[in-house]
Symmetry: C2
Subunit: 231 residues, 2 copies
């Protein structure tokens, strides 16, 4: 049997990237990367990352500390002076939780690592269809970035970007994760840093609605399960 | 008189970025960014950055610590197990000093910052024509990256990348720097971390040859001035 190739997977500790790692795991050996960028829930997400990496018995793992996104601010996730607003799933404005160009930062470090360890794919659990409207989750962004990799790395380096859940709804991601036996119980999605997940931020709202729509129970504990879930 | 717009300039402390800052200074207020990425000459370059920022009385400055490029390694500039090779200006291979995808890292953090402070241009002193053959110094790379910015930031964000010295020879950059009264005496170019600049690494060789070809004297002290300079 041929040796599997290596893929770098950006694993935040959240649900989407956990399911993405499970998808990559079917065809690749895993090199899992996690980025601390001074977000409110940094330590929770890092724990989730290590538990997920243990679960998959990842061949390599890399934890990166990005202090610059906190220094730069401009987002409710990294700047304590900006409030985490409750979800408004109908709005077409970029929400306050948008961290300027964060996915580009994550991708660039994954590319540097992939080039050195010889990985030929980078997986990222970005979601566009059912997302919060972050511009750096758009398929066009990843397409453009793939071109930057081709132009900006060694001639012999070829790395493709895989975003296998980008067109899926949260419900579809959860369903696929369950089918692949992804360790959803180890993930952390909430933008706030409470004892339990808050249940009302953008991220909790999307996740809870996803479980609800397939009639499944989220294994996490929540502070509040919002009213619309009981409708 | 209309208020000048703001530009982010990536200033390494070297000659090319110093002259680039002098070019940007003609039409913009300056927000100067510097990245420590665990290179051998980190503290020297940081000093040069602050002295250059003082010289230009920059409106804003930002110092970013990138530990991941050291962790990742793969370059003689960040990995002490890889030797800094002497210059081979005739070779068409990517040299050992290439830091995988480093310019993408620098650009992404400049974009994050530019988006938050409202700058509409990023200047970078990349040189291609007379360069060491780094793939992330190619004009195509910057063109592709500009597209990534357009796709990956807020709809109202428009940031162009300016690389005004990219097609210049080192001699032309030095000449222009002198005309603009750029503080060349404050810069540090050498890849090694000696008392004086080594005179033989890729970077020293290019710089010395540049001064020589316009018949000017480099204000820096060198350990060695290689033989070809005396021909």
């Amino acid at each position: 049997m041929q040796e599997k190739q290596l893929a770098v997977v950006a694993v935040s500790g959240g649900l989407d990237s956990c399911v993405t790692a499970a998808i990559a795991n079917k065809n690749y050996n895993l090199a899992l990367a996690h980025i601390n960028y001074g977000q409110r829930t940094e330590s929770r997400e890092l724990n989730a990352f290590h538990e997920i990496a243990d679960f998959f018995q990842a061949e390599k793992r890399l934890v990166i500390d990005y202090s610059h996104l906190t220094k730069i601010g401009g987002s409710s996730l990294t700047d304590k002076n900006i409030e985490v607003t409750d979800a408004d799933l109908e709005s077409d404005k970029v929400p306050s939780s948008y961290v300027p160009f964060r996915n580009a930062s994550i991708l660039t470090s994954c590319v540097s690592w992939a080039e050195v360890v010889g990985a030929n794919a980078i997986f990222m659990g970005a979601v566009y269809e059912d997302s919060s409207g972050y511009p750096d989750c758009r398929p066009e962004f990843f397409k453009a970035f793939e071109n930057v990799i081709e132009e900006g790395t060694k001639p012999e380096t070829h790395i493709k970007i895989e975003t296998p859940v980008i067109h899926m709804s949260k419900a579809e991601i959860i369903k696929l994760g369950m089918e692949l036996k992804a360790p959803i119980h180890l993930t952390w999605s909430c933008y706030k840093d409470g004892e339990k997940a808050c249940g009302v931020c953008d991220s909790c709202a999307l996740r809870l609605r996803g479980f609800q729509s397939i009639g499944a129970e989220d294994p996490l504990d929540y502070e509040i399960r919002p009213d619309y879930l009981k409708k």
